[in-house]
Symmetry: C3
Subunit: 214 residues, 3 copies
């Protein structure tokens, strides 16, 4: 693996860690046991990527031949579990701060997976099928969270939160457009991650909403 | 694409439009925002087909290389969203009429996808595996609705409505039987769609029920 | 098929029957109609195997070319439906006994599918990728139950019950370890099934719990 490929991998690692931390925090909040925390952290972090690999026709999904991501998820889950256990009083009293930290991790993971999914679609040779490539970016970004929310019996984030999937789609689009304009894919990924993250943070801060029918 | 293939495609288009309209109406009813309406319309219309393509081992699923269906879904979602927004007073006062229109679209989509899924199984070379072909018909027909209902946190139609999957299975069976008796596949598909549609409409009108254990 | 292969198949049959019985009992409990009972029995029994085959990249999933499992599920569902219908008074008055019988079937299916999934991963040539093989064992064991619980609008067993997925993972691990130590795979499968079954039964009996964060 050369320098360029390593750089691309970094986005997947950022997404994995951020989503595993966010997933574990949701699981702790829901009062699942240790297994539940680990299971939901791994599901959140790797669910989107597994769905993406199935859509791309990779068998077995690359995550299974890539122990780094699995270990990163496991480690992140344990960090959250032990932190919550040690600081349980602090944790319970400061729900709003915990929620805000969760949102930052979630937005970071959303951006990192949106561009990582886009890049994998391009690398798999679908660079001329914009719809599929952007769909892959969105799926990688929101897939893990959807599976986690379904398992917990909740309406998924993607239907509850304002500007959630739309932020992932925007990041994926800008990443794809920069790639198409012959600039470096790495630049596109950095810009896409930043755009998704900022859009999501602004949507939370300023309570941006899409229109409703009535 | 010759005349025969085009005729086959028509069934997929009917199913896509009917299910996208039905999905968007459910989303409007549930008061999701514009993205939610588009997302659920596309999910309802294309979910069954994507699951079918994964079961058949087509990668990427054909829907992604076929922009017509995506555009039809998107357009149907926008039509429903704008209609509901313009006629919001009418829409809210006449829930029963809206519900009835929804049921007609849903039954039409169910029939169209049941025979379209059956035909794709036959075309993929599984014409001698009746169980798999009919399973594909049923999955294509009920898959999108199941995914939509799960995302909205509801028990899927397939377990709530009387004679829902059974109607799809009947349409798929008759379509397969007509194909096996050396008649035209196109005839089978037309008969299958009609049968599924009528069965579903009668089940609603006459409140047909399957027996329960107690 | 020689004697050895037949023995391996027996595990899949045990799992299919046990899970179909357990799934049908849950469906009867939830008061679904006849179709619902059959649908949920088949989903519980075959869901895990279909997910496993998709992860392994088998198309169509082996279950579709193997009518034995489908017929076994169908037959088990009918047995439960008719028993519940005939003995409805007994059934309603003795919920605790019914629940206990259900738990035994469920634990048996869990063990049988955990080792059967492990064996299929090994046979497919992933014998040197322990993480993937054990993941396959766990997925085959818990997949069907997760799909059933999601369809019924409940938090899946795997997040509610103590030592559920952990029992499946333990059985899969011991089976894999015995295989790696050059002993017969068949021995490993028998030991793995027994371990999973006993762990699950003890967890219910002695109310074993994993720690929670707070």
């Amino acid at each position: 693996m050369n320098w360029f490929e390593s750089s691309l991998q970094v986005f997947e690692w950022i997404g994995t860690i951020a989503f595993a931390l966010a997933g574990a925090m949701v699981a702790v909040e829901k009062r699942t046991d240790l297994f539940g925390v680990i299971f939901l952290a791994i599901t959140t972090a790797m669910g989107g990527g597994i769905v993406r690999d199935i859509l791309l026709g990779y068998f077995p999904a690359r995550f299974f031949t890539n122990d780094t991501c699995l270990l990163l998820s496991l480690f992140s889950a344990l960090v959250i579990f032990l932190t919550a256990r040690c600081c349980r009083n602090y944790y319970r009293k400061n729900k709003i701060i915990v929620e805000k930290i969760n949102q930052v991790f979630d937005a970071l993971g959303l951006g990192a997976f949106a561009v990582s999914g886009t890049q994998m679609g391009i690398e798999a040779g679908y660079g001329d099928n914009a719809v599929f490539v952007i769909f892959l970016g969105m799926t990688t970004a929101v897939g893990g969270g959807i599976i986690r929310d379904l398992l917990l019996g909740e309406i998924p984030f993607v239907l509850r939160k304002h500007i959630y999937a739309v932020a992932a789609i925007s990041g994926s689009c800008i990443c794809y457009l920069i790639y198409c304009s012959e600039l470096s894919l790495l630049t596109g990924m950095a810009v896409g991650l930043t755009l998704t993250f900022l859009l999501r943070m602004c949507a939370i801060r300023f309570e941006w909403n899409l229109p409703k029918a009535f």
